[in-house]
């Protein structure tokens, strides 16, 4: 190898090393630049979170916080609305001067009061949100029963629309916004003028899909049992679906049912009627009990309790319940002051092991649906 060739090789080596060095410097400059950009970047905010992360956060929020959050922007409203929240019980109490909303569940329990003078009010947007967003086991609506809300209770912080609303609109509003598949819906007709006809109530999917729905303190003037029997007969309801009603001062409902469905009656006694349905495998069982009359000197009819249940055709009469206090108490707990605590949840939602203990469902003679 002559000196020229040697020089050529050395030059190539130097060039190669220089290129490597240049590459390293370029890389270092790039790294420094990236780090500078990173240090200038603001920390991430809510908008940077992917939707599934936002849903994870929303899942941890209570009802009121979700409602207030959905008022911040259109973009997140649909996310909030898509996330259902399980609630054990919602109670709404409407009086002439305030609406009280109470709800309780695993994630959240709270009570909110809305006041207004001389008008029945609905805090419409919050109630609508509450009913839409929740999967409720029990829903209870009553009018006029006063629950005291302390003066020191914090005022409701969110924006809401107060709307003057008659009673039947309130009931309609609640039932049309209530989610389907409630385990229990209770409507209290006490203190109510112009309680809606049962046909109107039956039109609501929330009523049609409820496992148990009941009306208490109904006056006996308009019959609400015949239309329900009609519906239970014609539409295919699950076995165990129940309707209960308490008439404050008795009614002619039993006679009306016997007269209307005479052709379909399988058996009848003084207080129990069994009726065929369009579905060969199912019957309707109507049971009636009379409560105790008042002892205040007024001669008025005692309260009448009626229960309608969809039962299997094969259910024998010997399997009928003989103790009616439990279901009457579910309907009107205030009429049965209890010397011993009896949890009616065990009646309607028996625990899994109650089956094992008793060999059958606690109070349901026909077992699971």
């Amino acid at each position: 190898m002559d000196s020229n060739e040697k020089n050529q090789v050395i030059l190539e080596k130097i060039l190669e090393e220089f290129q490597k060095l240049n590459l390293t410097i370029e890389k270092s400059i790039l790294t420094l630049g990236n780090r500078l950009i990173d240090s200038m970047k603001k920390p991430y905010s809510w908008s940077d979170l992917p939707s599934e992360m936002k849903l994870e956060v929303i899942d941890k929020m209570g009802v009121l916080d979700r409602y207030l959050f959905r008022c911040t922007s259109k973009a997140d409203r649909s996310l909030v609305d898509s996330q259902k929240i399980d609630i054990d019980k919602i109670e709404i109490n409407v009086t002439s001067w305030k609406t009280l909303i109470w709800y309780s569940g695993d994630i959240d329990s709270d009570i909110h009061g809305f006041r207004r003078n001389d008008e029945i009010i609905i805090p419409e947007t919050f109630m609508k949100f509450l009913l839409k967003i929740t999967k409720v086991k029990e829903f209870h609506l009553d009018f006029g029963r006063m629950i005291c809300l302390g003066e020191d209770h914090p005022p409701f912080p969110g924006p809401y629309k107060i709307q003057s609303c008659p009673v039947d609109d309130t009931i309609d509003f609640c039932l049309s916004n209530l989610s389907n598949g409630c385990k229990m819906i209770t409507l209290d007709a006490d203190n109510v003028w112009g309680f809606p006809e049962v046909e109107t109530l039956l039109a609501h999917p929330s009523i049609q899909t409820a496992k148990l729905w009941q009306i208490k303190n109904r006056d006996g003037e308009s019959d609400c049992v015949v239309p329900v029997v009609q519906m239970f007969r014609e539409k295919h309801f699950d076995i165990g679906t129940t309707f209960q009603v308490m008439f404050k001062h008795g009614s002619n409902s039993m006679d009306n049912v016997i007269e209307e469905f005479d052709f379909y009656i399988v058996s009848k006694t003084e207080n129990v009627v069994r009726i065929k349905t369009e579905d060969y495998s199912k019957h309707i069982l109507l049971e009636r009990c009379l409560g105790e009359g008042s002892d205040d000197g007024w001669e008025v009819e005692p309260p009448e309790y009626i229960r309608l249940q969809v039962i299997p055709r094969k259910l024998k009469e010997s399997k009928y319940e003989t103790d009616h206090t439990t279901w009457m108490k579910v309907l009107c707990p205030e009429n049965f002051p209890d010397p011993y605590e009896d949890n009616y949840d065990d009646y309607y939602y028996p625990s899994e092991d109650s089956d094992e203990e008793n060999g059958e469902r606690a109070h349901s003679p026909w077992g699971a649906d």
Binding site: W46, E56, L64, T72, S73, P157, P159
Partner: protein, 188 residues
């Protein structure tokens, strides 16, 4: 490259055994792995602590690294800030081999960095920590009015959102027009 030793040198808890004490198997030394974030600072973490992260746990199982190989090839998480990775490593070490409590008091209290932490934890697939972080994020706005929530979480108003959308559309329209003109020029 600097290095911080975040891992504990304590051995993994011995497996329960029915054999007599004298015949008990010798304790297996705990293995360590190395991770680094955007700042290239390497953290030494025990395999037990890393089990919290489904992502890293999966990587370890698939790679089958020896300790030397693990040391030579730290897992790079270039998308995670160094201080955030530090927080995650600390949490994993604190909760190594322990049942996670229902409420975690060891979570970082820096609200500014909480969203960064949520994103990092989500990426690293640390389920329990993600639950805590999301709860913490939700707690930031508990009882706050919509205006306060907007301020805390830096949520743009609907008007700001619409303006930004219009601006983006306008820019996209201009870019499309420019591209069309350039294509027409090329054709000529």
């Amino acid at each position: 490259m600097s290095s911080t030793e975040q891992g504990t040198s304590s051995a993994a808890p011995a497996e329960p055994t029915t054999a007599p004490e004298s015949a008990a198997a010798p304790e297996v030394p705990e293995s360590f792995y190395y991770v680094h974030g955007k700042d290239k600072v390497v953290h030494k973490v025990s395999a037990g602590a890393l089990q919290h992260s489904a992502l890293i746990h999966g990587m370890i199982s698939n790679l089958g690294y020896t300790e030397e190989q693990a040391k030579a090839n730290p897992f790079p998480f270039e998308n995670i800030d160094g201080d955030i990775l530090q927080m995650v490593v600390d949490w994993c070490n604190q909760h190594k081999g322990k049942p996670t409590p229902p409420e975690d008091t060891n979570l970082p209290k820096q609200k500014e960095k909480l969203f960064d932490l949520v994103l990092a934890v989500n990426y690293l697939e640390i389920k329990e920590l993600l639950t805590y972080c999301c709860k913490q994020v939700a707690m930031m706005v508990k009882g706050k009015s919509p205006e306060e929530i907007r301020e805390i979480w830096m949520i743009p108003t609907d008007a700001e959102d619409e303006a930004a959308e219009k601006e983006a559309k306008k820019r996209a329209g201009k870019e499309a027009a420019g591209e069309t003109a350039a294509a027409a020029g090329d054709a000529k």
